[in-house]
Amino acid sequence: MASTDKPVDTEYSRPTSSAQAPAGVDLFKFDVILRFLLFAASLVSVVVIVTGNETKYIPLPRPAKFRYSPAFVYFVAALSVAGLYSIITTLASLYAIKNPALKAKLLLYFILWDALILGIIASATGTAGGVAYVGLKGNKHVNWNKICNVYDKFCRHVGASVAVALFGSIVTVLLIWISAYSLHSRVPK
């Protein structure tokens, strides 16, 4: 008699499909914080580079804007996409904290989309960084003169923006690591 109202774990001693997979590590709160950081980094990068316009009079007025270089235009576009993506995934992550049933599948989607966005952010950082480096140092082999001695405010803005985008890409790498770790910890031994 006592055995009938005991919980059924003696019969179901082998783990079945989803009933007894290990609960795994739950790092979703950390995930939400990192995604918010990614959003903040993307927003700051875009705003700082867009407001970096500078005009120098040598003697004709010659402006320096981010629009004048296709590399910086790509940088702004890519980081805007990353910012939008981070808003959507922050909301998805918050939703997953409320509905714990979705977590495992959501982890895979996070890893997939985070990897794509990592590619986009890293390439944008590299692109803007490469062109900014040529602007900083110049290149005597191809006769490209440095411009940062003339346009100091513009260069400061671009440099700060690229540094914050680099921070954003590090945050994305951390996001992939914790999603992969959470998924890995859910695999039954």
């Binding site: 590399a71 890293a122 390439s123 590299g126 803007a128 480096y133």
Partner: protein
């Protein structure tokens, strides 16, 4: 009846375990093939741009009355810092692909999978950023930038620019391969959890 139920669970579990084992070996083969492909692509990209050199003769007019001087000008990949970064990143990715290929051929332990996933993400980020930098600087060489008076150079060094473009395309394929390498084991792990 309990024995019957236990037996049916055994059958289900056995076929599930077999299915997962087959799936696991397919994923493992795909992983090894992708690593080999990544190694080859990054190696070819680094070599194609590393062996890139072109000399062009440029007429320089010093004085109006005298005929122009013909000066040979060389274009080498290491004249541009972005290409140096590109070659360095591809060389690192190639080395990593070899090491992880050798590591994966042996017995796969759990800590190895964590380390490989960690390093795979770093390689994806590195490769994509080096591609972006090299493409940006290559585009500057192709089109120039009139606002800062940076003249284009690809009209003089056509062969050099073509080889750089080919190398960039191959490296882009290599970065996509690394991306697939990152995503494939996670897909398999999701199947393992359900």
């Amino acid at each position: 009846m309990e024995g019957q139920r236990k037996g049916s669970f055994n059958v289900m579990e056995g076929s599930e375990a077999n299915g997962k084992r087959w799936c696991g070996s397919v994923v493992r083969t795909c992983d090894l093939v992708l690593r080999l492909l990544a190694f080859l692509l990054t190696l070819v990209a680094a070599v194609v741009i590393g062996a890139d050199k072109q000399t062009a003769v440029v007429p320089i007019k010093l004085v109006e009355s005298m005929p122009p001087l013909y000066v040979p000008v060389a274009a080498k990949w290491h004249y541009l810092s972005a290409f140096v970064y590109f070659v360095g990143a591809n060389a690192m990715a190639c080395t990593y692909a070899t090491l992880s290929l050798l590591l994966s051929l042996g017995k796969r332990r759990k800590w190895m999978e964590t380390v490989i996933t960690v390093l795979d993400t770093l390689m994806v980020a590195l490769l994509f950023s080096s591609n972006g930098a090299a493409i940006a600087v290559g585009l500057l060489g192709l089109q120039g930038n009139s606002h800062v008076h940076w003249n284009k150079v690809c009209n003089m060094f056509g062969k050099f620019c073509d080889q750089v473009a080919a190398s960039l395309f191959i490296s882009l394929l290599g970065s996509i391969t690394f991306l697939l390498l990152l995503l494939l084991p996670q897909l398999f792990r999701l199947k393992q959890t359900t």
